[in-house]
């Protein structure tokens, strides 16, 4: 038991895979995190908040004690072209007496107050851990409030302990479907070019960037879900001819439900990286079945590629050969990142996700080089161990992983929801390359290695 040597706990070993073409043993995933392992995951509530909160003109009430509301107040970079209501964090701020006597009355009164003050069209009410335990009937309180105020008041079943972050995505998707499912807004004749774009949260205006492509090639974006979404637009989502899904981890479930309920088929896309962006544009254009749209897509891709390839080539010359570790939320993002690093001539040596799915881990196994370490629900100790063993130069991750990378004198890319710069599409591919160059080639690393403090 040496605290200075990074250790892997026995029960965690099944969640770690070393890519070996002769070994087809599957990785264990989709389990509850191991107690005491310092998982980097969050909770059900967090998942719901990520997916739902960007809906701009809804009131988002967190029914629970203050912490859940405090730590999620306006921390993400989702932008709005309209209302800023979503940037407020409303909490019923439950106290000890509420826990003992129940919080339903307080919640009902809170909804009354906020409806009187802000006249929202929709209120989402998120449940938290304690609410699930003390047995507040969220559904009943919300139904009553709907009748009283003649607006939508939608419960989000996101008690923190009741599953994982993924279940939170589902809870949010359930709430969104609940909202969308409104026959009054259904039209009979659909536009082939009208579609929804699921699983983009408009971080740093990313929805706007890809929508500029859609507009140029003649596609008609009805809704991005949930980046820059508004209630009135979401009600029209059912009229799309097709859906495309960016963040699969959070939104595949919604896509499936929309297919089931409204008969809208979907395809997965990824607008991260040059090649994936081009492929995704082609795919979206093809889904419209419109040859003019398809031709325009080709024109746009050709123009953008011409514009951007020389820039990326320049960055490639500065970054190639460096080794990369990836630790992100979902598998789809990890896959996309590996391709993006390949475009820069960089090799991925460690790749892990918090909540990747079995199919995604299989893809990761396919596209990585021999010896690559693949991790499910990793922790700081495992990241430290494998990044060290594989001599990674750079880590891509979230806010919690950043200081670990820096303490190991490793470059770092912020690929999280708090960033203030877009990483999507052609423009994002340039930003990404620029950030990689900026961090990998900084003068601080050599100095750190030379002057690091030793007792």
């Amino acid at each position: 038991m040496q605290s200075n040597q990074p250790t892997v706990i026995e029960e965690r070993k099944r969640h770690i895979l070393i890519k070996d073409k002769n070994n087809r043993q599957a990785i264990e995933c989709d389990h509850q995190s191991l107690s005491g392992a310092v998982s980097q995951r969050a909770c059900v509530y967090c998942g719901a908040r990520v997916v739902l909160n960007p809906i701009t003109d809804a009131v988002h009430i967190v029914h629970g004690p203050i912490g859940c509301s405090s730590y999620t107040w306006d921390i993400r970079g989702s932008l709005s072209s309209g209302s800023e209501m979503f940037r407020n964090s409303f909490s019923t701020d439950l106290s000890e007496t509420d826990i003992i006597f129940g919080g339903e009355k307080k919640l009902a009164a809170a909804i009354d107050e906020i409806v009187a003050a802000k006249s929202p069209k929709t209120v989402f009410v998120y449940s938290t851990c304690v609410v699930g335990i003390i047995g507040d009937d969220l559904q009943a309180v919300c139904s009553q409030a709907e009748k009283k105020h003649h607006i939508r008041v939608i419960p989000v079943q996101s008690s923190g302990f009741a599953g994982s972050k993924k279940d939170g995505y589902k809870a949010a998707c359930d709430a969104i479907i609940n909202l969308m499912d409104d026959a009054a807004h259904k039209i009979t004749v659909k536009d082939n070019r009208a579609f929804n774009y699921l699983g983009d949260f408009n971080l740093a205006g990313e929805v706007w960037i890809v929508n500029n492509y859609f507009k140029e090639i003649g596609l008609r974006l009805l809704n991005a879900v949930s980046g820059d979404a508004s209630i009135s637009n979401l009600l029209k989502a059912q009229n799309a001819s097709f859906n495309i899904v960016q963040c699969a981890g959070s939104s595949i479930y919604l896509a499936n439900m929309m297919e089931e309920k409204f008969g809208i088929s979907y395809k997965q896309v990824s607008f991260f990286g040059l090649d994936d962006t081009a492929e995704s544009l082609r795919l979206a254009a093809a889904l419209s079945g419109n040859s003019e749209v398809m031709q325009k897509a080709e024109d746009l891709i050709e123009r953008k590629q011409k514009e951007i390839e020389p820039i990326l080539k320049e960055y490639r010359s500065k970054c190639q050969g460096k080794k990369v570790a990836i630790y992100v939320g979902g598998g789809f993002k990890a896959i996309s990142l590996i391709k993006q690093f390949n475009e820069l001539g960089m090799q991925t040596v460690v790749v892990g996700t918090q909540t990747g799915r079995k199919e995604e881990y299989e893809v990761l196994r396919e596209i990585t080089d021999e010896g690559t370490v693949i991790l499910d629900d990793a922790n700081p100790s495992e990241l430290e161990k494998f990044m060290k063993e594989k001599n990674a130069d750079l880590l891509v991750g979230g806010v919690k992983e950043r200081p670990l990378a820096y303490k190991m004198a490793m470059a770092f890319i912020d690929h999280n929801h708090e960033r203030k710069h877009p990483l999507i599409g052609f423009e994002g591919a340039v930003n990404f390359a620029k950030e990689v160059d900026l961090t990998v080639n900084s003068p601080v690393w050599a100095l750190a290695r030379r002057y690091g403090y030793d007792e």
């Binding site: 107690s35 392992a37 909770c43 203050i66 859940c68 826990i99 809170a110 919690k400 950043r402």
Partner: protein
């Protein structure tokens, strides 16, 4: 009512008890935290602390799920303890509860006691700490955790010793380092708790260690009940949570209270206590520093006189900052905290200011619109006021996550107060100087039609 809505907190100006508890635990040497609850609590707290301190913040969770919730979390807690020991090999584990663990009525002390009988844990202290998220705010959680740790290590009175206990509120790491230097200058042997000065602001080392160096030593904490006196740097903590009060009531350790040593009176109060306890006169060095501070205050007084401030954050910080404003002729228009802080209004009997304990940022925002301060002093959560009302924000307190370096900024002592004051004054100067030519041209030349 101190909040705009009766049943809603809108944009919180406080955090939860486990957050305060985590910061306090991080100041204990070779320690790890195991948070008993759902996975999200530890993750959110780690994220919040990591952006402020820019240090790896490892906090384990027992990852309670539906099963654990229905049948009890004993198995999770036991497994969590074993795994934390295996990977981190700490000498202290603080087991902090959360809303969930408290609501399902987990007997963490009982589970830990049983765990101790089943495992060889003679070389490790496992401290149960009750921090229900709904119990109070991070401010109480912080002091309650310190008190619980002291209680744990002092089951009976320690042999009488000459040491002085110093209980500090949540300050910057640089502040703690500065306070230690002051103590040393009085030749005082001290036990400072919690000591985050190294643990949450560690130098870059060529080998990474999962648990950072530094922190208050368990052997020192064991002597606190026999210490010569306690200095508790907090006027705002309720006595029920006060570690100093506990040591006084239980073991008769004389208690001295002072505010955070920011500003002339705050620092003087601290120095006077140190001089009285140590029988060492206040050194010439401090009188000189004080003279320099007064000199600077005179230099800046007219600029500061135009300052109208909104001050917010945890009550202790807010109190000290308000005193600094008052000493310098900066008018505190709004003094606000999300914590209940029942004695804040008594301690700050300000006729022309809105003193708002137990409030939220929505309410602060309303008053900012109404009273129009020209400077905001508080934590990063005030960024919404800065953005919407276009008023500069001096970042101090916790969390500061949109600027770098809060953990190493000096705010205490004469030097720190002066650094902070200069930052405030220069911000006020910028307001006046930036664009004054255009402003006056527009106001007077254009209005009169020109020559």
């Amino acid at each position: 009512m101190n909040k705009k809505y009766v049943n809603l907190d809108t944009n919180p100006c406080k955090m939860c008890m486990p957050m305060g508890g985590s910061v306090a635990m991080k100041g204990i040497e070779n320690s790890m935290i195991l948070m008993h609850g759902s996975q999200g609590c530890s993750t959110y707290i780690r994220r919040h602390m990591a952006t402020h301190y820019n240090e790896p913040i490892d906090i384990a969770s027992t990852s309670l799920s539906e099963n654990g919730t229905v049948y009890g979390g004993k198995q999770n807690l036991e497994r969590g303890l074993s795994n934390v020991r295996r990977v981190y090999n700490p000498s202290v584990i603080g087991v902090l509860t959360t809303c969930l663990a408290e609501t399902i009525g987990e007997d963490i002390k009982g589970i830990i006691d049983e765990y101790k009988t089943k495992n060889d844990v003679s070389n490790i202290d496992i401290i149960p700490i009750n921090t229900p998220g709904y119990g109070a705010s991070h401010f109480e959680g912080y002091f309650h955790t310190i008190k619980t740790i002291i209680k744990y290590y002092n089951p009976q009175k320690a042999p009488q010793n000459e040491k002085i206990n110093i209980i500090v509120p949540q300050l910057s790491c640089e502040d703690i380092r500065a306070i230690k230097l002051v103590l040393e200058s009085f030749h005082i042997e001290y036990i400072l708790i919690p000591d985050i000065s190294e643990t949450l602001d560690s130098p870059y080392k060529s080998g990474y260690s999962k648990i950072p160096d530094g922190g208050t030593k368990a052997d020192d904490i064991k002597q606190m009940s026999g210490a010569g006196a306690t200095i508790e740097m907090s006027l705002l903590i309720d006595s029920a949570y006060s570690p100093g009060k506990y040591l006084e009531a239980e073991y008769g350790v004389p208690l001295y209270k002072c505010p955070i040593p920011i500003g002339l009176t705050g620092m003087e109060c601290f120095l006077n206590i140190l001089s009285e306890i140590s029988s060492v006169p206040i050194a010439k060095q401090y009188k000189k520093e004080r003279g320099r501070m007064i000199d600077a205050m005179i230099d800046s007084h007219k600029y500061n006189g135009e300052g109208k401030a909104a001050v917010f954050g945890d009550p202790e910080t807010v109190y000290a900052l308000t005193q600094l404003c008052l000493e310098n002729g900066i008018e505190p228009l709004i003094v606000a905290t999300g914590t209940k802080a029942t004695n804040l209004c008594d301690l700050l009997p300000l006729e022309n200011a809105m003193v708002l304990p137990d409030t939220d940022f929505e309410t602060i925002h309303e008053y900012v619109k109404k009273l129009k301060p020209n400077i905001l002093i508080g934590n990063s959560d005030g960024k919404i006021l800065k953005e919407k009302e276009n008023i500069p924000l001096i970042r101090i307190g916790f969390p500061v996550h949109d600027h770098i370096g809060a953990q190493r900024r000096l705010n205490v002592g004469y030097a720190g107060s002066l650094r902070l004051l200069d930052e405030i004054t220069n911000t006020l100067l910028d307001i006046k100087h930036d664009g004054y030519r255009q402003r006056l041209y527009n106001q007077f030349f254009l209005k009169q039609g020109g020559a």
